[in-house]
Amino acid sequence: MDNQTNLPAIDITDLTVAYQDKPVLWDVDLQVPPGVLLAIVGPNGAGKTTLIKSVLGLIKPVAGQTLIFGAPYATQRRLVAYVPQRGSVDWDFPTSVLDVVMMGRYGRLGWLRRPGRDDREAALGALEKVGMARYAGRQISQLSGGQQQRTFLARALVQDAQVYFMDEPFQGVDATTERAIVDLLKELRGAGKSVVVVHHDLQTVPEYFDWVLLLNIRRIAAGPVGVVFTEENLRRAYGGRVGFLGGNGHSEPAGTAAPRRAETQAG
């Protein structure tokens, strides 16, 4: 990967996506360097999931292009792992945890080739990493929400990618699992991977992530959290529906009023 280190891991230019005649993403640009944890935040309907899906070629954009390490996604699939929303699959499907994790290896296997011992061992290793090793043989319908999410993460880990896209991995998981996921994200970053996470909890953005993309159909701001995660940008992204409690006691980058805590007001 030496020749790729000076290229951005993800390079999105002029991405526009529409459902029928309604724009869901409008002219979005984003460059993400390798080794960065990036949160995508924005209100409901801001196009966060759509952004990920169009990068992965699951939705056809009206305009724009996406490059992964300088080349189109279709030629770089092996470098990219994807964790869809937990609710997007049928957890009553007759299969085991280990089997689901092995699906992460199908991409490198390609058509017709069957998973073998290597794939099995990789899957078991990934389950070990997410603390799910003893659930390997379990039917997936018997998992709790947190365990389902860990299974999905293990499936992404066996893809052994350079870039990870995760759609709301913290959705409906308990505090222990959230902690485990954060540790995992940091470990991935430590190994030089880029991780893009659709995230909902504004409070934890500064703690968990180093970059943030504020999105509301358009790109509101993107860059290091300390620079762009400001009250003003949040207000622009959420349209004044966000209440802030001023920060105190924590070291904030000089000259920015990055909020320690921001909540979406109920109602």
Binding site: L56, R77, P84, D90, P94, T95, V100, Y106, G107, R155
Partner: protein, 369 residues
């Protein structure tokens, strides 16, 4: 047993297994009713093919029928994509439209040919051995050869594309992201269902194809937690249904296809009630057990909460449970009795004390994991 009986049973088994295998994926993809639609609309393909070719023997008819099956699926999807019609309604609109055109065409232009509406709807398995062909010097019923080939082809294709079918059925999004084409697999599966339906409705009629495609997989789904075994059980149930259905028909002197569908329905019902783990009976038994188990845990937690507190003497008594836990006296007495027997508590003169086991039970129940 005469060779005719044997041949009919073999045909029935081949039809059953050929239908049950792709049926597994229809059930898992929540597309069960699509099989009903396809098994009817392929008739239009056959009729149009017959008019074009002028023969009912040509293998090209299968192509015409399969094309019509795929057209059915596409039309349903086009309707759904407008977001004005849901899937079930879309199926209910498309298939009667295409099927009724076929019925009109047959009754108007093809009277007297082998294509008659009764045979199409109900099949003629009992007469299947009459239509024979020569294969490598063996004189075999045409249906036997066709359905045997269909069954082998279906089993082979599913074995070959097992990984792809599993992935696209479970998580189409990931499949597409990994570079597999869910659409290709989807239409491949629909093509398989269409071709199978053509062969199957010759034997059992279009109404009952859906029974063969759905009942065995639906029952197998309740019996296992692994896809590979679901395929296996589905094929086994189809075989059992085909053979016992045939003998039911012989005993009742009734339509074979109807008897097979009835048997499959009965098999499903049996599994539905009796399946270990997921059957209704097992569920009811588990739920009843859980109620008592939970009550014992609740009692242990209650005692733990008040253990070594000033109000212990008042709270930890049998006659207080009805105030604190809102339990009827008889229910409380039973739970206390069960807990005592399980070694969770000790009783002396109406005072209740936790044993070490009971304390552990209460503590583990309170830990969130």
């Amino acid at each position: 047993m005469s060779s005719t009986y044997l041949e009919i049973q073999l045909i029935a088994v081949f039809v059953g297994v050929a239908c049950a295998l792709p049926g597994v994926f229809l059930v898992l993809r929540r597309m069960a009713m699509m099989s009903d639609a396809i098994s009817h609309t392929v008739l239009l393909g056959i009729v149009l093919g017959f008019f074009a070719i002028g023969s009912l023997e040509s293998p090209l008819l299968v192509l015409a029928a399969a094309a019509m099956g795929v057209l059915t699926v596409s039309l349903v999807e086009v309707l759904m994509r407008t977001h004005l019609v849901r899937q079930d309604a879309a199926i209910g609109l498309v298939f009667p439209a295409l099927f009724s055109i076929a019925v009109i065409l047959i009754s108007r232009f093809a009277r007297g040919v082998h294509l008659d509406v009764d045979a199409v709807l109900l099949g003629e398995l009992a007469f299947a051995p009459l239509d024979r062909m020569d294969l490598f010097g063996f004189d075999l019923p045409r249906s036997l050869v066709i359905m045997g080939l269909t069954m082998v082809a279906n089993a082979g294709l599913i074995a070959l594309f097992y990984k792809e079918l599993k992935l696209t059925t479970f998580d189409a999004g990931l499949a597409a992201a990994l570079g597999f084409s869910p659409a290709l697999i989807h239409y491949g599966l629909m093509l398989m269902v269409s071709v199978t339906a053509v062969g199957a409705f010759d034997a059992v009629g279009s109404i009952l194809v859906v029974a063969l495609m759905i009942a065995p997989p639906a029952a197998a789904y309740l019996l296992t937690e692994r896809l590979s075994r679901m395929l296996l059980y589905s094929a086994a149930l189809a075989t059992a249904g085909a053979i016992s259905g045939f003998w039911l028909a012989v005993a009742l002197d009734a339509n074979v296809a109807g008897a097979i569908a009835t048997t499959l329905g009965a098999l499903f019902l049996g599994v539905f009630l009796l399946a270990p783990g997921r059957g209704l009976l097992a569920q009811a038994r588990r739920r009843a057990g859980q109620r008592w188990e939970f009550a014992q845990t609740a009692l242990a937690i209650h005692l733990l909460n008040h253990e070594n507190t000033p109000e212990m003497a008042r709270e930890c008594r049998v006659d207080h449970l009805q105030y604190h836990l809102r339990w009827q006296p008889e229910f409380a007495a039973t739970v206390v009795g069960l807990s005592e027997r399980a070694g969770l508590i000790q009783r002396s003169n109406g005072d209740l004390r936790l044993t070490d086991d009971g304390r552990e039970r209460a503590q583990t129940a309170l830990v969130y994991n």
